[in-house]
Each structure stands twice: as C-alpha cells, then as structure tokens.
Symmetry: C2
Amino acid sequence: MAFSGLQTVFATVAIVNCIKQFATGGNRMNESIFQACFRLFLYFGVWVVVVGFVYSQELVSGSRIGIAIHGGAGTILKENMSPEEEETYRAELREALLVGYEILKGGGSSLDAVEKAINILEDSPLFNAGKGAVFTNSGTNELDASIMDGKTLNAGAVAAVKHTKNPISLARLVMEKSPHVMLVGEGAAVFAEKLGMKPVPQEYFYTEKRWLQLQKIKAREKSVAPDKPVPRGSQSRTEKFGTVGVVALDQDGNLAAGTSTGGMTNKRFGRVGDSPIIGAGTYANNQTCAVSATGHGEYFIRGVIAYDVSALMQYGGLSLAEAADKVIREKLGAMGGSGGIIAIDREGNIAMPFNTAGMYRGYMDRNGKPVIRIYRD
Amino acid sequence: MAFSGLQTVFATVAIVNCIKQFATGGNRMNESIFQACFRLFLYFGVWVVVVGFVYSQELVSGSRIGIAIHGGAGTILKENMSPEEEETYRAELREALLVGYEILKGGGSSLDAVEKAINILEDSPLFNAGKGAVFTNSGTNELDASIMDGKTLNAGAVAAVKHTKNPISLARLVMEKSPHVMLVGEGAAVFAEKLGMKPVPQEYFYTEKRWLQLQKIKAREKSVAPDKPVPRGSQSRTEKFGTVGVVALDQDGNLAAGTSTGGMTNKRFGRVGDSPIIGAGTYANNQTCAVSATGHGEYFIRGVIAYDVSALMQYGGLSLAEAADKVIREKLGAMGGSGGIIAIDREGNIAMPFNTAGMYRGYMDRNGKPVIRIYRD
C-alpha cells in the first residue's frame, strides 16, 4: 500500500512535468500561467479529498441510516396482476417504508423502525401477516413472528398465536419483558394478556381472499389424492408467500430485523415455519448484518438461511451482496427451496435476492426516496 | 508434491550409497551382506506403505463409526453426588451408548443410532427428557425434541408436546412422514395419533424429584420477590439442565444429531428452548459435523450455537475441536450463557466442550470401549 502510494506520487510528478513541458513549450510567461492553473487544480484536489474524508467519517460514525422491507416472495407475475392491484401493493409497501424511515431519520432505534413498519403490513389485509393471514387446514389463523436486536443479540419470537393483532409487537415484548426468547400457542397468549395486550377474536384476521385460497387448495387436494400424504414442497411452486419483514440500520449504527407471518395456507398439526426461528427467518448482528426471510419455510430452517448470510460475512469474508446471493441462489436453490431475503449491513448496503418469480420489496435509496419493486426488474 | 517426491528419492539414493560405503568399507563380501539387509529393509518399507494405504482407504470408505452422548450440563459437583447416584447415571449413559453403538456396528444408520439411544434416556427417570421431564410453572410437562439427517439436511422437530412418550421418535416421524420440519402443541399430538403413536397421560412423566424441584423454585420465587419479573438468566447458574442428546457417524459416512428435553423447571407461557430449534440445539451436515446442545437454551438460540460449529468448520477452516471450543468457551461465554455441546465430524473425531461445572457425557473410544465422564476430568 505504502509502496503503491510512493509509485503514484512519482508517476504524478513525472506526468505533471511532461504536461508542463508540452503546454509551455519552455516559454517562461506560459510557465507561470501554467503554475497558477496547476495550483488551482491542486487546491481543488485537496478540497475533494477533505470532503470525501469527512463524508466517510460520517458513514463510520453511523449517521448513515437504512431500511429495507419485503411483503413475501412467490409466483408473482405481472400478467396476473391488474395495474390497480399492483399500485395497492406498492402504496402499502411505500407507507410502511416511510413509517420506518421517519423513525430512523428522527434518531429512533432500528428496533422501533422494524416493529412499526411491520405493524403497517400486519394491519393491511394485503399481506399474509396479522389481518389477512392465511388459513390453516382447520380454518383458523395461527401467526408467527420474531425480532432480533443486532446490538445485544437479544431476540424474541412467538409461534402459533391466535389472538394477537400484531405478533411482531408481542415478539418484542417477549424479548424485552421476559427471560425467554420463544413462546408458543396458548402460553404466549397468557403472556400477552399479562402485559396488557388486548386479544382480538379470530374473526379479526378473516379476509375473503384467504378463505377462498384455502377452499381452492382443499378442493384440489380432494380431487387429486384423497388419502395420500402431501409431498414435501408440493405447494411451494404454485402458491404465493405473503410473509412480511423489515431490516433497518439506525443512526447509532445498530441493526435490527423482524419477520411476521400467517404461515402456509392449509398448514396442519401446529406447523411452524422459519419466521419465528432465530437464525432461519430472522437474524441481526451489529458485527455483520440484519436479515429477514420469506419463502418455503422448511428449507429456510434446514439451511439456517438468515444466520448463514452473517456467517459467510464473518467467517468467509464475503460482502453482504456476495453472502446474500450465495445463500439464496446457490445454497437454497441446491436444496430445492424457493423464496428470498432482504438484508442490510452496518454500512447501510442492501441486498434483496430471491429465486422465485417475484418478491414484494422496497428500500430507501441514498437520497431518501422509496424504491418499490415486485417482479424481476 | 511430485517435485518433493523426486527430491526424496534422490536424497534417499544418496544416503543409501553413503551408508553402503561406510558400512562395507568397499569390501565385496560385506557389500553383498549389506545388499541382503537392504533388500529386507526395502520389503518391510513396502509392506508398511501397503498396510497404511489399505487402512486409510477403510477410513475414507467410512468403516469408521462413532457416537457421543450427553445427559445435560449444569452445576454437577462431585461433592453433591453419592457414589451410588453417580454409578446410576454412568450405567444409564453406558446403556444408551451401547444401544447406539451396536446399531452402528451392525451397519445401521446414524439416524437409528441417535433415535434409539435417546429413547433409552427418555425412558430413564434420571434425565430431563421423556419420563422424568421437569415441570412447568403450571405443574404440567411439556416436551421438545429435534433430529437432523446430515446426508439430506432433512430435519424434524416438535415443541410443547404433552402426551408423547418419546418426543425424539415423533420428531423423526415429522421429518420422514410430513412435508414440515416443526410441529408444536396440540397439532403435533394430532399428527402423532394419526401416525399410530399412542398418547400417554401426563402422569406418565411424573417423578417426585422433579416435582420437589418445582416446589422449591416456586417457594424461593415467592419469598424473594412476589411480583418482580424473573431476571434473564437468574436460573441458569443454580439449576441442573438434564437435556439429552446423541450424535453419530455410521458406516456409510452419514452424520446425524438429535436432542430431547423437558425444558426448564418452572417455565411459563409456552416457553420453548433451543432443543427443538434446528441450528440452535441440533444440527447435522455430512460436509462438516453433527452437534447436540444442552444448557440455558435462550443463549443457544441467540447464538445459533449448533450451526455455528458447522459454519466455523466450513467457512472458517477450523477443525471440529477448534470450532466447538471457540463456540462454547469464547462465544457462549461472552454472551453470558452456560452449557455445552457434543459434536462429531465425518472422520469420527469427537468434541465435548462445556462451560459449566459438569456435563453428563460419554463416547465410544477407538477400541469400542465406552468412556463416561461427569465432571471436569
């Protein structure tokens, strides 16, 4: 490094002398004009270096904030979506992004940004989380969520909860108000009530769209093979996954990630996917990155997908983009799994790879403008 | 490699000539005796190389089998244990080890060895798994277990099941007979019955020792702080963890890991620890290792401990012993967590680090003899 620096200095001096010779043709008058120009040029260079340095220091000290969001990956094709429908999705994703971004801009924590942005998507009937969650085989809604704090590596998760309007907020309470990480089923409901979280009736989660989805799948199951077990992965290629998730970096340089879902349509037997599993669906660590996943959960659990991005960065020396790409395009693909992740590192770099037709996703660009994407574009 | 091989040959020829010159002093008679000796020496060398090669081929082709076992880590001190009590633990661990080892020796799969060895410990009232599981705050027993196949990366897990005699066997059914990885609560019970697994009443799990443990903790809680929330980790330093787990390598070179537990005494709100979490309490991958954990589960979830050993081997180039040690002694310790792991790699190397006073553990040594350890010895 020092050697190549010296080389650069010598080369520059040589080049400047050549230019000087060429420009002045040895004339003394021209030479002094050249010197004035050169000095100006030099001052400008110093100014560029100083400004660049200050800017990079700002990055390091953490004034750089960032947020990315997803609303699920799956068979999302432009030809199946009306312009109006598409705009509804875009508007909801934009709203959630802005809610999170405003918190970060005001000096709020990445945890707050993650929770509040996810609340917007949970309250929206469009996504498979909170209101609008998919139905289980027995016609109920069972919700999973998890959140992780990259600063402390604290985490909270709930699974198979039936009466919690905003599962991500309950996951945060588990993290902050209990000695545990994961609570499931009725027990989680008791904990929620104990902490003053009002239960909602199951009817709250009902949407006609999700109900019809369940009926369609059940009818198909009946017509094809009445008593055959569902083959592993049979649903993944045909259904949309509407899990939601947010990752954020705040002004203090703290990363956080959160994920919330209704799981898989027609799920049975108390099935739990990757969303409430720390390391699979959600992971955050200030040393590396924050990750939230969406897709065919079983593969994300077996591949320990969210933590794998962090491990590839920490132990393998990969950048966020390289690690995220490797995990989704190589590892998940090789396993036969489908889905995607959103990820942000401590410098605010964002990666959003997926191996499905589409993924509802968005982020704030460096100028503070929301960017929303749905298809492979 | 080829170059250094040639060098070796030339050097050997030169040395042999020197020795010949020195030993025979140029005498023809001595020279022929020397040649006979040298030929003998050469034959012996070839024999050593051939035997070594055959032996190493046997290793590579996987005839090397291995198994390790744990019955929980925690405050296990020699001064608190009678010789009879100690021998009871040793005998149970030995029995489980031998059951697993016999399966492996007979050409059975590592999955079978893991499941059947864990069944022995689940059926024993000594360990906190199956019969003898600890009690929840509400006086029930809720069991968690998981199993993973290193060959296919398939996995199965159950959490908060109340009527399953052998949760590890149910976890295996989830892996092999359902498209899912994790089933929780009542749903898992419905699945179990559907597959012909008979439920047992809650009373089956009762042991007086565990019941008294619960009463003691409850009394202490009452006397200290009636309404204060239990601080994170307050229980970890004083209680024993009796989670059980097995890791194994079979003749086909396949790794498997399994873990089964009753969780934490006095657990509330459907708390789930690391044992049923793939990546936290259990992980297996033929490319690296198989791991089963025991300890204060919340820290193992947050640290993604079981998978971390594998990631350090795969991405960081560490050996099994180095990776296992780093994860338990550095990472878990730095987080404030306590517990241990057992791990085996594809060459049959075994590591069993823990940062508590003791850990019930054992393995089969290279001569097929069981080795049982309890304390730091």
